[in-house]
């Protein structure tokens, strides 16, 4: 992607800023001010979504296809609401109804979606790199809604927005990302986004669930949960998939909860006003105790969901500005 359109490297967003990326396949490759720009853009949608008339027509006439090759309820719903609130015609393509089951290749599916003249395609796929593969073959913007263990950029953006609104800043905070980092695209996108925005990031979890050479991504690695939580400003818990609890990576859900479950006692090691986050859906009683998840003072979990819609509206808006002929973006 040409960097020529990028503004001077300043954390302050210049007035004539143009987001120079055609797709959003990951946080990797975004400059810090580009991430901040998307967060700034999302603020107006938070306000709109809290009003009575949650509607804007700027995407009217555009077709948004949500192609979800992997099951999802929450993210799909969030993208659908985001598109509809901006006035787009939103179509969902779920894997159960698709021809992927009949052996069609991903490239053929991409070409088919392209031929239907989609204006923006949102993709979730279980294979790392699958979204990039599709983005290379279509003419319209592609938004990654999660590809394998690789990236989930809108989740990182909504997490960053949540932190920024609750804490007033991201720079200088210590964020502990805890749990199954190995299989987590949420962790990877958050590591890239939060380190870019100046946070100190720790990854905390059992050694079997921490990927090799993770330090090379600019984070500190902890296998002792208590040590990893010490003084943290934000505690971001990750979901542990059921199939990984039964001896493959950790001995049992019971042991996992005993060693790596976030309880009120454990949380006391973090900063007094530490924020608790979780991308959902939660395994209550496994990675997080209900009393922590439901503590309105500490938990930002429902706010994350709210920010999710706003951030996705911002991404849909920004990525389609070129084809909508918005001045300065065409």
């Amino acid at each position: 992607m040409p960097d020529a359109a990028a503004p001077r490297p300043s954390p302050d967003r210049p007035v004539d800023h143009v987001f120079p990326h055609r797709h959003l396949t990951g946080i990797y490759g975004l400059k810090p001010w580009e991430i901040s720009f998307l967060l700034d853009e999302a603020e107006q949608w938070v306000a709109l979504n809290r009003g009575r008339t949650k509607h804007d027509d700027r995407l009217a006439g555009l077709t948004q296809i949500n192609a979800f090759f992997e099951n999802s309820t929450r993210t799909l719903l969030s993208f659908e609401i985001a598109g509809k609130r901006l006035g787009a015609d939103v179509v969902n393509m779920a894997v159960a109804q698709s021809s992927v089951k009949k052996g069609e290749t991903l490239i053929d599916t991409a070409v088919t979606l392209n031929a239907m003249r989609a204006d923006v395609i949102v993709i979730r796929h279980e294979a790392s790199g699958a979204v990039q593969l599709i983005a290379d073959k279509v003419d319209c913007p592609v938004l990654n809604a999660g590809d394998g263990r690789h990236e989930h950029p809108t989740q990182a953006l909504l997490d960053a927005l949540t932190i920024r609104r609750r804490k007033g800043r991201i720079e200088g905070l210590t964020v502990a990302i805890c749990g199954d980092v190995l299989h987590s695209r949420v962790a990877r996108s958050n590591i890239i986004a939060l380190t870019a925005l100046g946070a100190t990031v720790r990854v905390v979890g059992p050694p079997t669930l921490i990927p090799a050479a993770i330090e090379r991504m600019g984070v500190e690695r902890f296998t002792d949960f208590d040590a990893g939580l010490e003084g943290a400003d934000v505690v971001m818990m990750l979901r542990l998939q059921r199939e990984r609890m039964a001896g493959g990576f950790v001995p049992s859900p019971r042991e996992y909860h005993a060693l790596y479950g976030l309880t009120p006692e454990r949380l006391a090691r973090a900063a007094p006003d530490a924020l608790v986050m979780h991308p959902g859906p939660m395994n209550r009683g496994v990675e997080i105790a209900s009393s922590v998840a439901d503590d309105v003072e500490r938990s930002a979990i429902t706010e994350q969901v709210e920010m999710g819609v706003a951030v996705r509206m911002a991404c849909l808006d920004v990525l389609t500005r070129g084809r909508r002929g918005v001045e300065g973006w065409a």
Partner: protein, 407 residues
């Protein structure tokens, strides 16, 4: 058949240095080397200063790809048993052995176990009689140590070399990359590089116990090469090979989910790559092979983990390997030992030498000719090269098998 005279060349022989002059071929065999009286009826090829070298003997191609072999200067190719169906009986071996004649000779490697499944010994003795020159475990390692022990004892008694793939299957289950920064950033399932040394260590212990000859087709890590270096010092009958990919690329080449760089074994980190180059220089590595495995877009234009491993390597084998000479790591005669003489001796087949009386399998090479590797313009069955668009030097001008020009 008329005699063939190649004149005005520089002759490379694995046994020695460059000789100015030519080669006379009579009745498919080399009749004279250097300076000789040109027979009146001979057809003449002017080498114009090109290198005249033994045809390459490729130890381990996954497909019979005649155009790629001819373009790459390969006159004999050992065919991996990983065919459909696997080469696990004498009829299939016989058929494969006949497939390439007369242009490029195919030397089938017998499947070590039935269906290459790693459980029951295949009919190794009968396949040997049908023309198999070695047995191979195929793309995979034999996980069951009991099976591997029996295989080595049995093959050892038959005097046939076993060719093994060295990656511990428990560690590499589901893995598509080597553990490290690149795999972590991309979110790819990975296995630690130590998987190779673990497999090599077990197999070396079994060699020590059985005395059988074992060749590791590709060894790509510092620790595994250390084990082999030590085993050779102890006098164990062990050899190993590598492909240019592991000599010139690290796992960084996978960045961007480039499926052409999805290989088996996977690309390693930079420290291991440098250890491989050192092992070429100190003689630990005996063979450079193409690992030729052409795969079309239906197998490669997929998400990384869903794509098949393997690369089209036959056409680029010599040009890439010549880089080792240009970098003063080895000299030309050692290069052709790695590409031709050693694999021929290991398989017990003719070739690899330009001695008088030897079969006239030879190539003419311009070692300096520049060209650019282009995945879209390969002569072979597919263009899945991880070296796409790399500028290289060294062109095969002619490939001659048994005195007859090929391709």
């Amino acid at each position: 058949m008329k005699p063939l005279a190649i004149i005005g060349g520089r002759i490379v022989d694995p046994a020695g240095a460059l000789i100015e002059g030519g080669i006379l071929v009579v009745d498919r065999r080399i009749a004279a080397i250097g300076h000789f009286d040109l027979p009146a009826e001979a057809s003449v090829i002017e080498a114009k200063g090109a290198l005249v070298a033994p045809g390459l003997v490729d130890l381990g191609a996954f497909a019979i790809d005649m155009r790629a072999f001819a373009a790459g200067g390969i006159t004999r190719a050992a065919l991996m048993p990983d065919q459909s169906p696997p080469l696990d009986n004498s009829a299939l071996v016989q058929r494969a052995a006949a497939a390439g004649k007369p242009d490029v000779w195919i030397h089938p490697l017998a499947a070590a176990t039935r269906g290459l499944e790693g459980h029951e010994l295949a009919e190794i003795g009968l396949m040997k009689a049908a023309g198999a020159c070695a047995v191979a475990t195929g793309r995979g390692w034999i996980a069951d140590s009991g099976v591997m022990h029996r295989l080595l004892s049995y093959a050892g008694a038959l005097g046939i070399t076993v060719i093994s793939h060295a990656e511990d299957a428990g560690l590499t289950a589901h893995a598509v990359a080597t553990s490290g920064e690149t795999a972590t950033r991309l979110g790819l399932a990975s296995a630690p590089a130590i998987a190779e040394a673990m497999a090599v260590a077990r197999d070396l212990a079994l060699v020590e116990d059985t005395g059988a000859r074992l060749h590791f087709r590709q060894v790509t890590t510092a620790r595994a090469l250390d084990l082999i270096r030590a085993a050779k010092l102890r006098g164990l009958p062990v050899t190993c090979g590598i492909s240019p990919a592991h000599l010139f690329l690290s796992d960084m080449a996978v960045t961007g989910f480039r499926t052409f760089a999805r290989l088996s074994p996977p690309l390693r980190d930079e420290a291991d790559r440098l250890a491989c180059l050192a092992a070429i220089a100190d003689g630990t590595i005996d063979v450079i092979c193409s690992a030729h495995d052409p795969q079309g877009p239906e197998a490669k234009r997929l998400p990384f983990a869903d794509a098949e491993p393997g690369m089209a390597g036959a056409e680029t084998l010599l040009a890439l390997s010549l880089g080792l000479v240009r970098d003063h790591l080895i000299d030309l005669s050692r290069l052709f030992a790695l590409l031709s003489f050693n694999p021929a001796r290991l398989l017990g087949i003719p070739g690899g030498t330009l001695a008088v009386g030897a079969e006239a399998d030879l190539i003419l090479v311009d070692p300096d000719a520049p060209w650019r590797i282009d995945a879209d313009r390969m002569a072979g069955a597919a263009g899945n090269t991880p070296f796409d668009s790399l500028p290289v030097q060294g062109r095969v001008l002619r490939t001659i098998k048994g005195g007859q020009p090929v391709g």
